[in-house]
Symmetry: C2
Subunit: 216 residues, 2 copies
DNA sequence: CGAATTATTGAAACATGTCAAGGATCGTGG
DNA sequence: CCACGATCCTTGACATGTTTCAATAATTCG
């Protein structure tokens, strides 16, 4: 946590959730935005849960670890998305900023109409998690990467040039692969003229239909 | 859908969710219970979503398919649990009874305090899905089966003798394995004197600590 | 009892992981 | 601005866990 600024007037680059997020902001007691540097911990496993978190800009990852240190990233969250939901009083994940990210804390207002605007956001996150179950359980490495890129494309509203704020290890831990495999599959898609890799943190989709066909 | 009976007085064998489910029933307009025979469709992908479903007895599976027919079971639901959540107006899964199951339909009451009692249940399902992401993404076949059995043990309130209402293919499609691998791992656990298989649909845990150690 | 379904088991194939080396990129300090 | 070290990424060769294919056994249902 580095700086506190007030971005209250800032437009949300959110898409489908924009309407719901607005409703939420109307009922919550929005605080100032906190700026997190790359790889900062936003909350840790075991921390008290309660407030929600709205990504103003940047990207966030939600992680869990096994006893022997293997990591699973349950979700990435981008600008306009809300995270921090727990069914009990304690966080079961830890949340970290991927790149430099601005996060607005949403505390529950006293008049608790909050639940009504919170539910759709929780259900959206549930739906995303369920989509991801299919990817992890039943898709091979190529299909996983293709699904990941298409999801990014949709959430970035960018048809062709995607930014990959996270590093290869993050992608691997999100998709249940190793970073070597992520690297190899990206290479394969590049060789197949489906994507290009202008920089290490950018992907340009040059054959979207082919990418969609790869998704299984 | 076969028979309509009214089980309204029946006690719920639910554990952690029991309190929340009671609150939900108080606000919803509970209908009679519908009895589904084995492998009946409760709702299909694309059906209109809206009402929730409470499992009175039996077991339910939520499934998705890839274009080429691979299946992922997102969740099993047992007595006392609620399913059917969607963030939009349409079902993204299909729900089927595993064995003979009784399902109560919960329609939204006019006074919509419903959201407040629904949110905890949605969050519980989100939490389960997230737990399962770790299993699918980062655990090997043995760990997956161990985690599955321990989850069953917890939800059945049975320390030692578990019933497996679903067949091997269902377990496989839930854990991202093939049914042959499920069979082999069960055999391995049996040979290691961690479980016994008195019948094809029962597992007796005879070394619980060992099973817990296997979970990673 | 017999047929159909479901489960078990084995052998071989394959996708992904592991280990290892080299190359690119980034940040820092001279 | 360049050089250096650290980190991250790429690529290759080999190992391995899981799948695939196939045959047999057990179970269920009519």
């Amino acid at each position: 946590m580095l700086i506190q600024t007030d971005f209250r007037q800032q437009a949300h680059p959110s898409r489908a959730d924009g309407f719901v997020v607005s409703a939420l902001l109307a009922h919550a007691r929005p605080c100032a935005v906190t700026l997190y540097a790359e790889n900062s911990v936003i909350y840790a496993q075991g921390d008290a849960a309660g407030p929600l978190y709205l990504v103003e800009f940047g990207a966030v990852r939600l992680c869990r670890l096994t006893a022997d240190g293997r990591r699973q990233i349950s979700a990435f969250h981008f600008a306009g998305e809300v995270f921090g939901f727990e069914f009990d009083a304690e966080h079961h994940h830890f949340a970290e900023s991927v790149d430099s990210a601005g996060i607005r804390l949403l505390r529950r207002a006293v008049d608790d109409h909050l639940a009504e605007s919170v539910l759709p956001l929780a259900l959206r996150n549930l739906s995303r998690a369920q989509d991801h179950l299919l990817v992890l359980g039943r898709q091979n490495a190529t299909e996983k990467i293709a699904a990941f890129l298409l999801d990014l494309a949709e959430r970035q509203d960018a048809d062709t040039l995607l930014s990959l704020p996270m590093q290869r290890t993050d992608i691997a831990d999100y998709l249940g692969l190793t970073f070597e495999t992520v690297s190899r599959i990206l290479r394969k898609l590049k060789d197949a003229r489906i994507i290009q890799l202008p920089t290490i943190k950018q992907v340009e989709v040059i054959n979207l239909p082919a990418l969609e066909r790869l998704c299984g």
